[in-house]
């Protein structure tokens, strides 16, 4: 299995950042690479098992399913059902943890997936930089650091 791990420190409380990212249908509101998103079958976006169907700015369509959501531990886990990327068994988690000595939080985004070894480096670097770090950079800009 290929693995990706990206982490960062965001200059806002975990509660405030969680409020911005918790909604499984909110990617277009906070992630610069996502153009639009909808939840299939009009399910609520915090219903575990719901599917988000979204388009990237480059036109690619991706479907992802919410596998777990915790307001207590501030994380959610999801899998990719359909995407143009040459990978399978993709499961990712985004998680926030308070940093108690300031109004900051520790953010982690990780994934595991299967792919052809020839594609692994490009997928790991591409998803890690464009999706995960790109998302954290957008949050850091929004929250001023």
């Amino acid at each position: 299995m290929a693995r990706i791990y990206v982490s960062s420190v965001i200059n806002a409380s975990a509660e405030n950042v969680w409020e911005r990212i918790r909604d499984f249908n909110a990617l277009p509101r906070w992630h610069p690479r996502i153009a639009d998103s909808r939840i299939e079958e009009a399910a609520p976006s915090d219903k575990v098992g719901c599917i988000r169907n979204f388009n990237l700015q480059n036109g690619d369509n991706i479907r992802e399913q919410l596998l777990g959501l915790s307001d207590y531990d501030m994380y959610y886990t999801y899998s990719i059902l359909d995407s143009p990327m040459p990978l399978s068994e993709y499961i990712a988690t985004i998680r926030l943890t308070p940093i108690t000595d300031g109004s900051r939080c520790f953010a982690e985004w990780s994934a595991e997936f299967a792919c052809d070894p020839a594609d692994e480096e490009q997928l790991v670097n591409g998803i890690g930089a464009d999706v995960f770090q790109g998302g954290f950079d957008a949050l850091k800009r929004h929250f001023g650091g």
């Binding site: 982490s7 420190v9 943890t97 940093i99 108690t100 000595d101 300031g102 900051r104 520790f106 770090q133």
Partner: protein, 158 residues
């Protein structure tokens, strides 16, 4: 004085965390040694591992004296070089902390080459002493420990 079985106790959870301006390898290198806290923690005067066991042997017991002369014994429950974590419990203490289990966890901050450090515990205390003991553990042990590591490693104060 009631027997322990009838003493009213409350469960307390304490968590403190910080970010150190150093790589996770460098921080782990300093805090991994279960017998090394007398070299950096201001509350600990001297420490030894019982039975001359290696300090990275899970199950080993550290016996240490605080600056005020009191003695404590703690047992290593978990040590992971892969996850950069360890956990331990208190065996003997003059302070009324019962069933005390603590976890130290390091995480890399990949976009800054810094380290997120979380230190947390759960324990039981006699009713009425929860706040005092939670503050003692959180401030005098965990937060003081963060600052001591910063100074030990020559890092800037938070």
């Amino acid at each position: 004085m009631p027997l322990n079985g009838t003493l009213e106790v409350d469960v307390v959870k304490v968590v403190r965390s910080t970010v150190l301006d150093a790589s996770i390898e460098d921080v782990w290198d300093v805090i991994r040694d279960f017998n090394g806290h007398d070299r950096w923690h201001p509350a600990v005067a001297k420490s030894q591992i019982e039975r001359s066991e290696p300090s990275d042997r899970v199950g080993c017991v550290r016996r240490f004296q605080l600056e005020d002369g009191s003695e404590l014994r703690e047992k290593l429950l978990t040590l992971s070089d892969l996850e950069q974590t360890y956990s331990y419990c208190l065996l003997d203490t003059p302070i009324p902390l019962f069933n005390y289990v603590a976890h130290v966890r390091l995480f890399p901050v990949t976009d800054g080459n810094t380290t997120f450090w979380e230190w947390e515990s759960r324990f039981d205390t006699p009713k009425g002493q929860e706040e005092e003991l939670a503050d003692l553990v959180g401030s005098n042990i965990y937060e003081a420990g963060f600052e001591a590591i910063r100074s030990h490693m020559g890092l800037e104060a938070a």
